[in-house]
Symmetry: C2
Subunit: 210 residues, 2 copies
């Protein structure tokens, strides 16, 4: 994309559109090439914005990184995981649907570039406390949504020793690890296997717990 000339009209008319374009461009770059490997001057060029506009919205690269995590990465986890799990009849069905959708999408694209949250988490969380806190908050919302759904599956009167939070953590860990293995081997097989295992374990345990 050619560099656009500085235009006060453009800045005044659509500052939010420009900010979105910058965050979208940075999200794509940070989650594929990496945060450190993406230079600000490249992002500026790719988004077609001026240096002044970039500095106006994001005075530092860190501010842009935080916006990517808090807006785009959080939104990706919300739409890919949290919304379908909440909408499903049971946790097992929700998880099965999430894995099926992700696997179809990867097969359609023909390339596994990994989970945006994990890619960024591994690169950035030790870097900076603000990054780490933002990443932890997303992991927490993700685990909480699954644990809440498991609790709803088992809404029974009698006590039950099923550990919802622990199972939710296992689901998130197994998905993240399976995606890393899928990326390393460029094959969706680990995701297929782990999706099936997780749903079968949860069906088994929630049936025992009823």
């Amino acid at each position: 994309m050619a560099e656009r000339p500085a235009s006060p009209n453009r800045r005044t008319n659509d500052p939010e559109g420009l900010r979105q374009r910058l965050v979208d461009t940075a999200f794509a770059a940070f989650t594929t090439r990496g945060y450190h490997s993406s230079a600000l001057h490249e992002l500026k060029r790719e988004a077609g914005v001026t240096g002044g506009a970039l500095a106006h919205h994001f005075p530092t690269k860190k501010a842009l990184g935080l916006a990517v995590i808090e807006d785009r990465v959080a939104e990706a986890v919300e739409s890919t995981w949290i919304t379908p799990v909440r909408a499903a009849t049971t946790t097992a069905e929700g998880i099965q649907e999430v894995f099926t959708t992700i696997i179809s999408e990867l097969e359609r694209k023909g390339v596994v570039s990994g989970c945006p949250l994990n890619n960024l988490a591994l690169e950035l969380s030790r870097e900076d406390e603000a990054f780490q806190a933002a990443i932890e908050a997303i992991f927490l919302r993700w685990r909480t949504a699954i644990a809440d759904k498991l609790r709803a599956d088992l809404r029974v009167d009698r006590a039950c020793d099923f550990d919802f939070d622990a199972m939710a953590t296992l689901v998130v860990a197994a998905y993240s690890g399976a995606m890393a293995m899928a990326k390393a081997t460029q094959s969706v097989a680990p995701l297929k296997v782990c999706g099936e295992q997780l749903t079968s374990i949860i069906r088994n345990q929630t049936q025992q717990g009823r």
Copy 2:
């Protein structure tokens, strides 16, 4: 460490020691700073070897990367996972022991730098086919050792529908994902939770299968 002068005696007397020192230095650098962020001139300085000695053992950075994966990373997975799982009475006990050992080690060090295999797998496997094949071979040996142990747990006469390979893949994925979460949050909690969940699931399923 100061740079050592080129010494034909040194090369002749202990070429294997020098090679080991280079691979050790590169392993430490690649699995913490990353392969791309580690320049050859830094590795040469850190290992205290001459450019000639480096070029003699590893004509390219890729050759050094392959030696790190095939020697050190494979060895780390062997000693951390494969040997203890094989030596344990049951798979569940073996996995529990592996997680306990890793958690103690991380608590002692006070920092979670992640799993060497996963760190390198995520950076390098899409880079180059030789890297990808070497990384896949390690994942396969790891999963096979766990599947074989599960099969031995359940050495019964009657047929059983327990899928050993699928459970082994889930164990490796959950461990890898839990380590990534532990690294992101600098807390061993995800490893503790996943270790307990996996051993409890395997105990439960192997008892059903007997």
